[in-house]
Amino acid sequence: MKIAVVGKGGSGKTTTSAVLARGLARHGHRVVALDCDTNPNLGLSLGVGDRETQRLVTLREQVGESDTEHAVSWAEILDTYGTDAPDGVRLSVITRIENPEPG
């Protein structure tokens, strides 16, 4: 199941997404949390910490700078631009949701 979370900045989108992701994982579901924000900070609310959240941002910025826009698989995105959050949630920071080719 794919769930999108929208709303005004500061309304609690990120907290809602993170708590929901962690809750789903605790219920035994496999969960991928995708941060589609151009200022990604979902990692903080998921509990991966400030450093790791910052590391993912830096990784993604480097993708933005190199002009090689090659089609990458979901697996590659989750692997390269992702990190493991508590409860088994996999967090990945993606630039734009329509860019990657489904793997």
Binding site: S11, G28, P86
Partner: protein
């Protein structure tokens, strides 16, 4: 998603099963949520659930019901534990798993209609 509704407008049609529209009980937040709803409906982004956040009293509830009364709505209470986690940059799921706000968000899961997961 990005603040506002920009990312939603860029999604392909029917890419999403459920859209959660998070809204605070303020006219401005309700205005943005209305736009999000409009885009989600227009582009067929699955079922829509209103997540009414930071609800502190009945007047807050009525503000949300007045705007979105016909939509499935989950009410999440104003919760100092969530604010505290926000200040620290930590997860409310770690800091205060039993806090009312956290519990209310987790209740969203019950309405998703997911099959029971196999517990590892």
């Amino acid at each position: 998603m990005e603040a506002g509704i920009g990312s939603l407008t860029r999604l392909g049609e029917s890419a999403i099963d459920v859209t959660l529209v998070v809204v605070e009980p303020t006219p401005r937040s309700i205005d943005v949520a209305r736009r999000g709803l409009h885009v989600a409906d227009e582009r067929g982004q699955g079922r829509v659930v209103i997540v009414a956040n930071k609800i502190s009293d009945d007047a807050d509830r009525q503000r949300i019901i007045g705007a979105f009364g016909d939509r499935p709505t989950v009410f999440v209470p104003e919760d100092p534990a969530i604010d505290a986690a926000d200040r620290r940059g930590t997860s409310p799921s770690d800091d205060a798993p039993d806090a009312p706000g956290v519990q209310a968000i987790e209740h969203i899961i019950d309405g998703l209609g997911l099959p029971d997961a196999v517990r590892g």
